[in-house]
């Protein structure tokens, strides 16, 4: 589904990613892990076209999306949710999801119909249900709890009906209970939509619980990839990331 071939990116001579290759199978759920500063978010930024690739290629299906504009890549089927919640504070949950739905179909160019009565209402309703936001459907986004704001960020990405969904630390800033709630929700979403998911996460219990394949990044390079079982037993990963086998 998503193929990354040897991408590299440096900032001022410092390698943020170095010859990274990742391949995601269709309908799979995958984790990208690594210590802070390993280059995880940079990889997301490279995939989505937020920053340009210095070397290497990125494909979605057979389409080369390397260095295409962020808006074009989004329309080709890649959507993301952000590490720091990235929503629209003065719009309600309903309005925000409708905006994302209209963005997907270029409906935001419509200067005549009333937004409130626009035909995407039912679809927005379904996405809110899917993301578990129905109870706060008419709440202004800035008044949502942190967890619901994170869910809204994901719902915005879901509205684009992506082939590949990138989730950058979906549980960041949450307490232990809230984290597991969120992970349960993501797992459900993935099972219902069967899209390909790549997520960044620091909590290893969560990663080992839901990821089918794990990619381990250190200093901008992939040092291991495999199933949770394989990663748990990988000596390089244990040494670099899991704390010398204490975990």
């Amino acid at each position: 589904m998503l193929k990354i071939h040897g991408i590299s990116k440096s900032f001022g001579g410092i390698n943020a990613t170095n010859n990274v290759s990742i391949e995601l199978k269709p309908n799979s759920i995958n984790a990208l892990i690594g210590p802070n500063g390993a280059g995880k978010t940079t990889i997301f930024n490279l995939i989505t076209g937020k920053i340009s690739v210095d070397k290497g290629k990125i494909f979605i299906g057979e389409n080369n999306i390397t260095n295409l504009k962020e808006t074009v890549i989004t329309h080709m089927g890649i959507a993301r949710a952000f590490q720091i919640t990235n929503i629209f504070p003065t719009l309600s949950v309903k309005e925000s999801i409708k905006m994302a739905l209209l963005a997907k179909t270029h409906g935001l160019n419509n200067m005549w119909d009333r937004f409130a009565s626009h035909s995407v209402n039912e679809e927005a309703d379904n996405i809110a249900k899917l993301a578990g936001l129905k109870k706060v459907y008419n709440t202004i986004s800035s008044e949502l709890s942190h967890g619901d704001q994170k869910l809204l960020d994901i719902a915005l990405a879901l509205a684009l009906k992506p082939q590949v969904l990138l989730l950058d630390e979906p549980t960041a800033g949450m307490g232990p209970e809230e984290r597991w709630e969120m992970i349960k929700r993501i797992k459900e979403l993935w099972q219902k939509t069967k899209m390909t998911v790549l997520f960044i996460e620091h909590d290893m219990d969560i990663v080992f619980d839901i990821a089918q394949t794990i990619f381990v990044l250190q200093q901008g390079a992939i040092i291991a990839k495999g199933s949770p079982k394989e990663i748990k037993q990988n000596q390089a990963v244990i040494k670099a990331y899991l704390g010398g086998g204490k975990k």
Binding site: T48, I87, T90, N110, L156, L160
Partner: protein
């Protein structure tokens, strides 16, 4: 009459007609030329302020050079009606002059907007101001065409059209308010459309829309052009009212006026700027009749709004009595 309960185009048109008819009746109930003049100015300046509020209130871009389009509309209309074309066009002169004024402002806004919207924050604000001062300098320099610092001299004819004679006070009053209300209704339709919500989305979070596949820059440019064209329309109506056009309409201080109106009336309510225009005009009328310290009084009133209400009057009223 069920549509009155719904927020839709039909209701807006109905309310627009009601307001227009009421103001026509008011013309005869209160036969004061001074009050009629204030009402006309409130609508003209209200349009000017509402056009700027597309950028400030809905898009989050503070333009300091919006009067460039107001002046462009005023001068285009004035020059058009002073030209010999009037003899050829006859009764069509005024409608075509207004359309020309909107067209010139639109083209100017497209040119200036295409450059300015690449910037943000204070850089955007000051680049719009730089363009406005360029237009101001051109108006002063082209003495043979614009009349330089004296403005367009000698007035211009207002040939009647469709039975409307803008030389008559009632016709002018009814026409100005009619054009303003139509523009306000169309603007409301735009602001409440998916396009208008796209503006709010950019204002709230300019980074996120790209990740939704949405082209910010194109949206911003279209909004800038629409704002410029409405300011041009307001300028052309002002030129018709004053039978002339003046270089100070392109000076930076003129751009501050709609900004004050927005601050006074409120930037988060659709009709806030027009309420601001009303307060501004009333202050202007009352204060200048009683003291020469107009600027001081205006400053104190704005300060009291900013520090006391912390928002424009209509915004404050809506929050106080309606939204919460």
């Amino acid at each position: 009459m069920g549509f009155l309960k719904q927020d839709n185009f039909k209701r807006d048109v109905f309310l627009g007609i009601v307001v227009w008819l009421f103001l026509l009746l008011f013309f005869f109930i209160v036969p004061s030329a001074g009050i009629h003049d204030i009402i006309q100015k409130v609508f003209i300046l209200g349009l000017f302020a509402m056009s700027l509020n597309i950028l400030i209130g809905y898009l989050g871009l503070i333009a300091f050079g919006h009067a460039a389009f107001f002046a462009a509309g005023a001068y285009t209309l004035g020059l058009f009606l002073q030209s010999n074309v009037v003899n050829i066009l006859g009764s069509l002169s005024i409608p075509i002059a207004i359309i020309s004024a909107i067209f010139v402002s639109t083209v100017l806004a497209a040119f200036i907007g295409a450059i300015c919207i690449r910037l943000k924050d204070i850089y955007f604000s000051f680049l719009t101001l730089a363009f406005q001062m360029l237009i101001y300098s051109i108006i002063l320099a082209l003495v043979n065409i614009t009349g330089g610092d004296q403005g367009l001299m000698g007035g211009f004819p207002k040939p009647p059209f469709l039975g409307i004679d803008l030389g008559k006070p009632f016709d002018f009053y009814a026409f100005t308010i009619f054009i303003s209300i139509i523009t306000i209704i169309l603007l409301r339709q735009l602001i409440e459309s998916p396009f208008g919500y796209g503006l709010r989305m950019i204002r709230d979070n300019p980074e996120r829309p790209a990740a939704l596949g949405f082209n910010n820059q194109r949206h911003k440019l279209i909004a800038f052009i629409i704002a410029g064209s409405i300011a041009g329309l307001a300028g052309s109506l002002q030129a018709l009212l004053d039978v002339g056009a003046y270089p100070e309409w392109a000076f930076w201080a003129k751009s501050a006026e709609p900004l004050f109106m927005i601050l006074l009336g409120g930037m988060h309510s659709f009709l806030g700027p027009i309420m601001g225009a009303f307060i501004f005009e009333m202050l202007n009328d009352f204060v200048t009749a009683n003291t020469r310290y107009y600027g001081l009084v205006l400053g104190l009133v704005i300060l009291s709004f900013v520090l006391g209400l912390r928002r424009g009057l209509l915004d404050w009223l809506l929050i106080k009595f309606y939204r919460k």
